[in-house]
Amino acid sequence: MTLLQHDVPLSWYLLLSAALFSLGVIGFLIKRNLITVFMSIELMLNAVNLSFVTFAREWNMVKGQIFVFFVMMVAAAEAAVGLAIIIAVFRARATLSVDRIDLMKL
């Protein structure tokens, strides 16, 4: 246990989490395909999950791990709803390009 704790320092985990999160943000911002955007969101969620379990481990508290389960659950629900929406959008407009789905403006 202590072996694991001291072999890989805390900051590595956090850096990995930050890198994954940044990748997610960048993907979210620059990708045009709706499914890729969706995957980026999942990436961000999992980056945060990594931070949670890291801190849970560091402080020997179970709260962080419990929170991860919540996040997973929400992510699963979101995936179900989100994919359904994506299918509906594709059926209606025959495109998944985010730039062309822009009806939400005055």
Partner: protein, 673 residues
């Protein structure tokens, strides 16, 4: 000790009639509307008769047993509702109804004459549109009028006061599709606002200076001696009662109340609305604008007479206003050709008599004239309505004439009414007018002048009433009526009953009448003027002589040689034009008050305040908002990725803020653990 009389039923019954006919009237059969419209005032009237009987029997028992009575009802009888209307800690206002001799007399007149006029309306309004609406308004009027009469405090009276004004407005404008009627209604309402303003100021002054609005408590303040003995723990000491406000304040209160009374009772200078009010249906003119509502001003003065007794200046002004109005309106009535307008000016003139009576502190004779006037003036209006009905809506007397044979009952009753108002003995108005003139004559040097004005007015009254009589009923018909309506029985019965009342109404005599009213209207403080001995018989003879003289003049002008009147008018064209145009009062008011007000409203209020200041401010605010909106709406591109970028930037900004200006939370604390 008082058994409950259920006074509240008197106003509530007409109110129920108003609700039923007002809400459901259009959907109910006409017979049901009539039944509701008639039964509500009948129920009210029967309640009043019951109350009267109860108090009379109690009074008789008191007399018979000399004080130790088993009387169940003693006047004044007060009915107060358990829950106060307005409760402000220091003072409170109740829903209290007071029955005393004064309100009893008024109630009998209001509900009795009101009931008769309701019956008359069944015949008169039978063919009209809005039959149910008419009856619901009439019942509404009766509700507010009984509230006004029964009110135990000034504020409740004001509710009734405003309510009858509303009913009057609705009924003057009953034919609202006619512009003149709608305008007349508005005029009545607006002119009354001026009077009501005075009344309200009077109420405020009463409240601040007396701390109460209840009539009984105000009177009690005057009767309580300022210094009185107090026995406490076996020792006697002097105590000072609550001090009275000083005379100037009482005079101010009285003048404010007088302004209110002058508005409602159509006295100078606020009388202008009453002649125009004749645009309403004739039963309305009879009920509201002759018999009951317009006498509310007289009732107000009689009701608050303790104040007036302590304000001799205000009292003198009341008398002068009354006398001036009486004379002024009588002169105008001489040259009017519309039968209802003659009667309207006659009403103003007779109301002037009542004010004159109040002004010489003879309240009982004022109320006496109020009662007899309610009988004969309601009769005059109803008879005139019968004439108009028969002529198919014609109101111009120059086109009437010779109706004596065609309308025998109307002619007979109208003749009684004309002789009554002219003051022939032994008809009702002879007694009441005589009482007023005698009271005026006894009232010092000013009184002599008032008496003389009253006498001249009596002469003019006799003149114009006989002129109306000759022009309408005698001579030859001057036009072919377009179509003949027969007069239904429901119109004739009230005429006959009112004619009987006009004959007998005065026989009770002023002495007995004022003795009956004495507990309420007896003067609490003699004015400083010394009463002179009144030569009663010469005064009465003068009054009778004047009545005959008026008849003779009218006869010589309109009966023997009908062209003489036109010649007379041609001989004095300026004077005739002045009188025929009602002294141009409407025109003067229009030029002096209405036009400047309109100009002020249009240019100052309309252009400067409304258009420039308020409109400009509103425009500026709206412009600012739309400018900001125009800028902000660029953000809403609809592009998902731009939203996401803003979101990320925002999150980064929050993160940076927490890092550098953190609220105690920073990464440093995390790392330390």
């Amino acid at each position: 000790m008082n058994e409950s009389l259920h006074l509240w039923l008197v106003p509530i019954l007409p109110f129920l009639g108003f609700l039923l006919n007002g809400v459901l009237g259009a959907r109910m059969p006409k017979k049901l509307v009539t039944a509701i419209g008639i039964l509500a005032p009948l129920g009210s009237f029967l309640m009043v008769v019951n109350v009267t009987a109860a108090s009379m029997i109690s009074a008789a028992q008191t007399c018979a047993q000399c004080g130790a009575s088993t009387a169940s009802v003693s006047l004044p009888y007060v009915e107060t509702f358990a829950r106060p209307w307005i409760n402000l800690g220091v003072w409170h206002v109740d829903f209290s109804l007071v029955l005393d001799q004064l309100s009893l007399v008024m109630l009998l007149v209001v509900t009795g004459v009101g009931f008769l006029i309701h019956i008359y309306s069944v015949g008169y309004m039978g063919h009209e549109e809005g039959y149910a609406r008419f009856f619901s308004y009439l019942n509404l009027f009766l509700f507010f009028m009984t509230v006004l009469v029964l009110a135990g405090n000034v504020l409740l009276m004001f509710v009734g006061w405003e309510g009858v004004g509303l009913a009057s407005y609705l009924l003057i404008g009953f034919y609202f599709d006619r512009t003149s009627a709608a305008n007349a209604g508005k005029k009545a309402f607006i002119v009354n606002r001026i009077g009501d303003f005075g009344f309200l100021i009077g109420i405020f002054l009463l409240l601040t200076n007396f701390g109460t609005l209840t009539f009984g408590e105000i009177s009690a303040r005057f009767s309580a001696a300022p210094i009185h003995l107090v026995f406490e723990n076996g020792t006697a000491s002097l105590a000072r009662g609550p001090a009275l406000p000083n005379a100037a304040i009482i005079t101010a209160i009285c003048l404010c109340l007088l302004l209110g009374a002058a508005g409602k009772s159509a006295q100078l200078p606020l009388y202008v609305w009453l002649p125009d009010a004749m645009e309403g249906p004739t039963p309305v003119s009879a009920l509201i604008h002759a018999a009951t509502m317009v006498t509310a001003g007289v009732y107000l003065i009689a009701r608050t007479h303790v104040l007036f007794d302590h304000a001799p200046v205000a009292l003198a002004i009341v008398a002068i206003v009354g006398a001036a109005t009486a004379l002024f309106a009588a002169t105008i009535a001489l040259a009017q050709n519309d039968i209802k307008r003659v009667l309207a000016y006659s009403t103003i003139s007779q109301l002037g008599y009542m004010f004159l009576a109040c002004g010489v502190a003879s309240y009982a004779s004022g109320i006496f004239h109020l009662v007899t006037h309610a009988f004969f003036k309601a009769l005059l209006f109803l008879a005139a309505g019968s004439v108009i009905h028969a002529m198919g809506g014609e109101q111009d007397m120059r086109r009437m004439g010779g109706l004596r044979n065609k309308l025998p009952v109307t002619f007979a009753t109208m003749t009684i009414a004309v002789f009554t108002i002219a003051g022939f003995p032994p008809l009702a108005a002879f007694f009441s007018k005589d009482a007023i003139l005698a009271a005026a004559f006894a009232h010092g040097p000013l009184g002599k002048l008032l008496w003389f004005v009253g006498l001249v007015t009596a002469l003019l009254t006799s003149c114009y009433m006989f002129r109306l009589w000759y022009l309408t009923f005698l001579g030859e018909p001057r036009s072919k009526p377009s179509h003949n309506h027969s007069t239904p029985l429901s119109m004739l019965v009230p005429l006959v009953i009112l004619a009987a009342l006009s004959v007998c109404g005065g026989w009770i005599g002023i002495d007995r009448f004022s003795a009956f009213l004495a507990p309420v209207t007896s003067v609490t403080r003699r004015p400083a003027i010394h009463s002179t001995a009144t030569p009663e018989i010469p005064l009465t003879l003068a009054a009778i002589a004047v009545a005959f003289l008026g008849w003779y003049i009218a006869h010589s002008f309109y009966a023997r040689k009908s062209e003489r009147a036109a010649q007379f008018a041609a001989a004095y064209p300026a004077a005739y034009k002045l009188v025929a145009n009602k002294f141009y009062v409407d025109e003067i008011y229009g030029a002096v008050i209405v036009k400047p007000l309109f100009a002020f409203s249009k240019y100052v209020l309309g252009w400067v305040v409304d258009a420039a200041i308020l409109g400009g401010a509103a425009w500026l605010l709206a412009g600012l908002a739309s400018l900001v909106g125009a800028i902000l709406q660029r953000w809403q591109s609809g592009n998902l990725r731009s939203y996401a970028a803003w979101l990320a930037l925002g999150a980064a900004a929050v993160l940076l803020f927490v890092l550098f200006y953190g609220t105690g939370f920073s990464f440093a604390t995390i790392v330390r653990h």
